[in-house]
């Protein structure tokens, strides 16, 4: 399978509802400094359930679009990211994660609300191991992978075995 497209709604620097894609087998993301490229990777990581600290935020509300510092303080704002995934057979599966005004988050597969365990179980069945994160390399992290000490390398292998 593969990622077909993304639908972002008020996620980080993406205001309102925006559809991004279609993604091909090898897609490059380009643009000037500060345009929002890493925020796009954060959107994919967020919808897969990667924790907020890894997405340059301290709480989920930091991930909701805001024009300036004042707007950040307003309550009642919402955001979601939907990942449309194409299965090997050609049919589509939608993973959606929403940030609620309360500050929590909600998971959906297609249009059914599910809890994290079911959501994560479905991802694992597709070979997407969020905990091991062996398929995501965040900006600036690549060199540190080669400098891991022996114990850290064991830890990495443990997570995928």
């Amino acid at each position: 399978g593969k990622i077909l497209r993304l639908e972002l709604n008020n996620f980080k620097s993406y205001k309102g509802l925006q559809t991004i894609g279609p993604f091909s087998d090898f897609t490059a993301v380009i643009g000037p400094n500060g345009a929002g490229k890493s925020n796009l990777m954060d959107a994919i990581s967020f919808v897969l359930g990667v924790r907020t600290g890894q997405l340059r935020g301290t709480q989920l509300r930091d991930l909701i679009y805001a024009f300036d510092d004042r707007e950040k303080e307003q309550s009642g704002r919402r955001a979601f990211v939907r990942l449309v995934y194409q299965l090997a057979g050609g049919s589509e599966l939608r993973f959606t994660r929403t940030i609620l005004p309360s500050g929590g988050s909600e998971y959906q597969i297609d249009s059914r609300n599910v809890n994290w365990d079911e959501y994560n179980g479905k991802l694992r069945s597709l070979g997407i191991l969020v905990k091991a994160r062996n398929f995501l390399v965040f900006q600036g992290d690549v060199e540190s992978i080669a400098s891991k000490n022996p114990k850290e390398l064991t830890g990495l292998l443990e997570q995928i075995s």
């Binding site: 309102g16 990777m41 024009f67 997407i128 060199e143 080669a146």
Partner: protein
């Protein structure tokens, strides 16, 4: 637990040298470099750990700390792709991994990724047993993204004060 771990270790250490050679071979060094994994203590890997060694072509030091920035990046990518071949995930997302690479290494890494992502390898398990994957790569270097099949351009819409994107299918406009 020990059995699962050793299965992963043996698979990855059997493939790391081949992938590192694919990433480091060139006209002047057709053989490429050497890379291997060692268990510090066979009986109890959980306590002592795994040592990773990569030696670029013409270099003879075993200490990874002596490698340059670009040499470390290539060694890291080789390890990452080897781990992936044991537990293949359907896609890879890489954010400016080419920042420390010179133009030659950018071309090698982009070529490797293209060979794993495009031209149908995703469907078939190729002969070496490592499967293909979809790649989404963020890069500032045109020598990287001109090997991609599609490009997502991200720009800042300063009227609205937010990000926007445009998508281009490169396969349609590539010269034959």
């Amino acid at each position: 637990r020990y059995k699962l771990f050793m299965e992963a270790f043996n698979h990855i250490s059997s493939i790391i040298d081949r992938i590192y050679k694919q990433l480091t071979k060139s006209g002047t060094h057709p053989l490429g470099g050497t890379a291997y994994l060692n268990l510090e203590n066979e009986d109890d890997p959980f306590l002592h750990g795994i040592k990773y060694t990569a030696m670029p072509p013409t270099k003879r030091f075993r200490d990874m700390e002596q490698l340059s920035g670009g040499e470390k990046t290539v060694a890291a990518l080789a390890l990452l792709f080897s781990i992936h071949s044991y537990r293949p995930s359907p896609f890879f997302i890489l954010d400016e991994v080419d920042a420390a690479l010179d133009n030659l290494n950018v071309a090698k890494v982009a070529g490797f990724i293209r060979s794993k992502s495009c031209d149908g390898t995703r469907a078939s398990q190729d002969s070496e047993g490592s499967s293909g994957f979809q790649s989404i790569v963020i890069s500032l270097k045109d020598s990287f993204y001109d090997k991609a099949e599609a490009v997502v351009g991200v720009y800042r819409d300063s009227d609205k004060g937010c990000s926007s994107t445009l998508t281009f299918d490169l396969t349609k406009c590539q010269e034959s």
